[in-house]
């Protein structure tokens, strides 16, 4: 964990505190990591593999919104009330990840606002990156360039 960019700048004591909320998980291809509407009790550091975030649109079927792969952090609904997942997430291939217990972390963040602020800053970057990518996706930029 200490080598992951997400934890850069935290001291060993803080990382040890967070490690207490971590566990290793494995998802088989096709297995759901979480489902829309379920309690959002975790977030994940993908060690290897790939996960797709998807939703189901009536009459249209399942639509993949984005994919997350090795080295990336995903899942931020554990931080925002009412702590429910907004989308489904499903492993595309065998995926090994570090699952961070959201309830455990929320408690630690309440108890120690300094670590809470550090976690919040890091997740703000994750959320901002997702927002920026989504906006760019919505722009549909690969259209016609010139008119020759």
């Amino acid at each position: 964990m200490s080598e992951h960019p997400f934890f850069k700048g935290l001291n060993q004591g803080q990382i040890a505190l967070l490690t207490g909320c971590a566990s290793n998980v494995v998802f088989k291809p096709g297995q759901f990591v979480f489902r829309e509407g379920e309690p959002a009790d975790h977030f994940y550091f993908i060690r290897e593999g790939k996960v797709q975030v998807e939703t189901h649109i009536p009459q249209k079927g399942t639509v993949t919104i984005q994919t997350r792969s090795g080295g990336e952090v995903f899942g931020w609904s554990w931080l925002v009330p009412p702590y429910r997942w907004h989308f489904d997430a499903r492993a595309v291939e065998l995926t090994r990840a570090l699952a961070m217990d959201g309830k455990c972390l929320r408690t630690k963040c309440e108890d120690d606002h300094h670590i809470g602020y550090e976690i919040m800053k890091r997740f703000l970057l994750v959320i901002a990156e997702r927002l920026e990518a989504t906006r760019l996706q919505l722009m549909d930029v690969y259209g016609h360039g010139s008119n020759s």
Binding site: V63, L136, M139, V141, Y142, G145, S148
Partner: protein, 287 residues
């Protein structure tokens, strides 16, 4: 800024405004609205040399002339390859041409990708949509001189899986151990199990050394703007980022002014620019 006369020395044909007839040998439909033309000179001894990133003015007789990037292999000068999208009258006319038909060619024009400067460094090539076409000669060059470069990473984003250019070739590239190729689409359709999301999201996961990397980027301007920001977030200096700009052109040699971009002409000062030299253009609207 280099004088025009010096630029004209790079022009391979008889004169800067002289069109030479080339015969279409092959037409490949790449996607629903893009296609590739392989051209050969009527003179069998004629070879067409160019540098990766340069373009030609292609003339559909009786219809008009357009600038099209060269998308072929610079080490195979007997065949001249262009890939374009069907977007207007000239490219629509071009799409209707068949093997054996003749097309007018003049060029090559413009600046090239800095493949020499990149030697000894990691190289990250970021392409969006049809922007892969002018970058394909770079990939050919890098693979032909593979030992001169560190890690080579190709990141390519398109709208949907159906819009992927050079699909078979990309599959071959993905299977190579000396080239890291990652694709992503904005919208997954059909049985696509690859990455979904904009091309900029691939940059953070790419295994290049930002302190020793040179980036070459081509695609829609908005995609290039965000790509530059993401590359800088990874630690690349703007002097190590190159971009290819697109504007309507007429003469191709800096005389007519159609492609003026601030104080520059894209046809002769570009299309390939170092990021720090073109950056202010990104922040000015309608330029």
């Amino acid at each position: 800024m280099a004088p025009i006369a010096e630029k004209l020395l790079h022009t391979d044909l008889a004169g800067p405004m002289t069109t030479e007839p080339f015969v279409i040998r092959r037409v490949v439909k790449e996607t629903a609205d893009t296609f590739t033309l392989d051209l050969e000179s009527g003179d069998s001894s004629r070879e067409f040399t160019f540098r990766p990133g340069q373009f030609n003015m292609l003339y559909v007789f009786g219809v008009g002339e357009v600038p099209i990037s060269i998308s072929g292999d610079p080490t195979k000068p007997a065949v001249l390859t262009h890939t374009t999208r069907e977007v207007g009258a000239v490219t629509r006319g071009m799409r209707r041409l068949k093997p054996g038909d003749t097309l007018g060619v003049r060029g090559p024009y413009g600046t090239a990708w800095p493949v020499g400067e990149a030697e000894g460094s990691d190289v990250v090539v970021v392409a969006g949509g049809i922007g892969l076409a002018p970058l394909r000669p770079v990939v050919y060059h890098l693979l032909a001189h593979r030992q001169k470069y560190g890690k080579v990473v190709l990141l390519y984003g398109t709208r949907t899986p159906e819009d992927i250019l050079f699909r078979k070739e990309l599959e071959r590239w993905r299977s190579r151990f000396d080239l890291e190729t990652h694709l992503t689409v904005d919208r997954a359709t059909g049985p696509w199990h690859g990455n979904v999301g904009v091309v900029t999201t691939l940059i953070a996961r790419s295994p290049f050394d930002p302190q020793n990397t040179l980036a070459m980027v081509c695609g829609p301007e908005v995609m290039m703007r965000f790509t530059v920001l993401e590359l800088e977030r990874r630690g690349l200096d703007e002097k190590r980022i190159y971009l290819s700009m697109e504007r309507n052109m007429k003469c191709g040699i800096g005389l007519c002014g159609h492609c003026q971009l601030g104080p520059r002409f894209v046809c002769k000062d570009g299309p390939v620019y170092r990021c720090d030299g073109i950056r202010e253009v990104f922040s000015r609207r309608e330029l």
